[in-house]
Structures are given as structure tokens and as C-alpha cells.
Symmetry: D2
Subunit: 106 residues, 4 copies
């Protein structure tokens, strides 16, 4: 997300005085609730899904994730690069190539 | 996330030939699985959590969300702004201020 | 579950003095966390799963569900039959037969 | 659940010919989706929840769990007692009493 989008999310929360509801725990609950609504798009089929609905639910996941980053004073690039350092060590290219076995515990 | 981080995530997947596992459905499952691991940081307490663990699990949510954006050819800013348009209409400032009642069905 | 199994679950909690952690909210978090671990058995494949692992994670879902029933003083048969009354009205046989479209919002 | 309730759930599925949608993976997705709807009752508050809504969502978790037991030919009492054997060994009373630290990885 670029800075303008991040600022829009922050302004939305501030104007409604919703920071009071944004404890880290409440936001973690909210992320899993929205992620399950995203999964619901694929509940009975892996191929026949409503793209607009997928976009809306994925956007909700991203918005609540940004809310949690904000609440904890974190930066998306910083934590993702920290985690990618771990992933690159844990799954070296030569061993992990084309193999999902090593992939299921990240 | 900035372009450099996005490129790193894409390169990680490509080098391991893991695109074959990244169906939209598998990625939706992965996002909810990681979101639940994030929630696990707050399973028995809303205040006593391991920040490093929170960072790692939130990063996993963001990485799989980027994988899904990539798979569907979507742009985070575009879908988030589309959703924020909806949210701003649905929760006008004057009605939503300090009120979580209206907030629980986005 | 039969009464003996239910009693065993209750005794396990009581002996460890874990009722104090079993707020309805904590148990709802726990159920979704275990349900996501169950889903993890099917993260990258819908056919190649570890049955023993599935059994363990499904058992965890059932145990925490029983904990929540106990905490709220509810009876599984009572709430399930109440919900089946709703489901049978909502999805009449003649309309719902072989059709998952009507099925995805129960 | 008693046998009558289990039979009612089975008859509901059979009459609608919905077994075709009940792959283990689809049911695992369904359980996590319903568990997240249950969690939604506690999204912004751990104390102010709608008990009727809680009952309905918990019932959905139990129904889909029974569907998965049926699909895999499993018995609730059998798998729960197998798991309780593990739990009782993993969390001996004297060490686990009043301590949720040992509790968060079952």
C-alpha cells in the first residue's frame, strides 16, 4: 500500500473515534474473521468464485492488518523483510524447489 | 508494502517454483491459517503477548495476501480504496462516531 | 459425545483449575484456532492428508466446543436441534436438492 | 450429541443430496468459517454478546464437525478420548494447575 492509502485508513479510524476498539487482540480477531469471509468465497468450489467478493474480503484483511500495524507502531516492509529473511534461510532454493512438503509450517 | 518488498516476495515464490501451489483457494486457506496463528498470540490474554511472534504471524498474513493479489492480478491500493469508498458511505462520520455497533458487519 | 466423555472433559478442566481461562470469548478464539489447525491438514491438497492429524485437530475443536457449551450452560442436542429446525425451513428438500448455491449462508 | 440428533443431521444431508459437497477439505473450510462467525459474536467485546447468535453459530460448528466425522467414518467419543489421553499426559495436574502457559499448544 502506498502512503496515501495508509493515510486514508488512518483518517477513517480517527474521524470515527474507533481507535478505542482497536486493541491488538480485537484487530487479530477481526483479521481472522475477515480471512474466513474471504475463504467463504471458496467454500464449495475452488474454481467458481465471485471476484468482486474476493476483492472486498481481501481488502478487509488488508485494512485490519494496517490497523494492527498502526496500533503496534510497526512498518509492513520491515516485518515482511524480517520474515522473508527467515523464510529464505528455512527454505533454500535447491531443497524447496517444487516441493510443498517443506512449505506447510511457515 | 513498497515495490522492492513485493518483488522479493515474487522472486521467493518463483525461485522455488511454488506458483503451482498458489491457487486462489489455497492462498485463501493459507491466509486464514496464518491469521489464526496471529490470534493464538492473544488466545488466553489480551495484554500479555509476544510482540516478536505477533510480527512474524502478521508478516505471514501480509505475504500470503500479496501472493493472492499477485495470483489474481490485483493491486492492493486499488482494492483497498474501492473498499474504503464503500466503508465511508456505509459508516458516515456523524452516525458512526465512537459507536462500534455499526462497525461489526464490514 | 456420550456423558462419560463429557465428564472426562469437565474433570480435566476442573483438576487443572483452567475454568478461569475459559471465558466464552477465549473459548471462541480457541475453537477458531483449532479449526484453522484442522484446515492446515488440507492447506496444499484436498486429497493427500494425514488422517491421524485430522483426528487430533477435529477432537480439539470438539473439546473446546464442549468447554463453551459447559461455560454457557448449554446442551449440544438442544442447540443443534434448534438450528436444524431453522436449516430445514431455510432449505426445503425440493429446492435445495443437489444445489450448493442455497447452502453457503447457513 | 445423542444418536437421534446425529441421525437428523445425516438425514438432512442425504435428503438434499449434499454429500457430494462434503469432501473432508470442504468441511474443514466450513468448520473454520462457522468458527469465525462464532468469534464474530465477541469481535468488539468479551462481555456484551448475543447468546442466541452464539448458540446458532456454535451449533453450525457442531453440525459441520458431525458431517466431517461421518465423511471420515469417525466416532466423536473415540477421537476425543484418544486426544484426552494425549492431553492428560502432556499436562499433568501438578504442573498445569492454574497455569495457562502450558496450555497454548494443545
Amino acid at each position: 500500500m502506498n502512503q496515501q492509502t495508509i493515510d486514508r485508513i488512518r483518517k477513517f479510524t480517527e474521524e470515527r473515534d474507533w481507535d478505542q476498539f482497536h486493541s491488538p487482540e480485537n484487530l487479530a480477531k477481526s483479521i481472522v474473521i475477515e480471512a474466513a469471509e474471504l475463504l467463504e468465497c471458496f467454500q464449495w468450489s475452488n474454481s467458481d468464485y465471485d471476484l468482486q467478493h474476493v476483492k472486498e474480503e481481501l481488502a478487509d484483511v488488508l485494512v485490519y492488518s494496517q490497523n494492527l500495524l498502526d496500533r503496534l507502531g510497526l512498518d509492513a516492509d520491515e516485518i515482511v523483510n524480517m520474515k522473508m529473511n527467515q523464510n529464505e534461510k528455512k527454505y533454500p532454493v535447491e531443497k524447496a524447489r517444487g516441493n510443498s512438503n517443506k512449505y506447510d509450517r511457515i
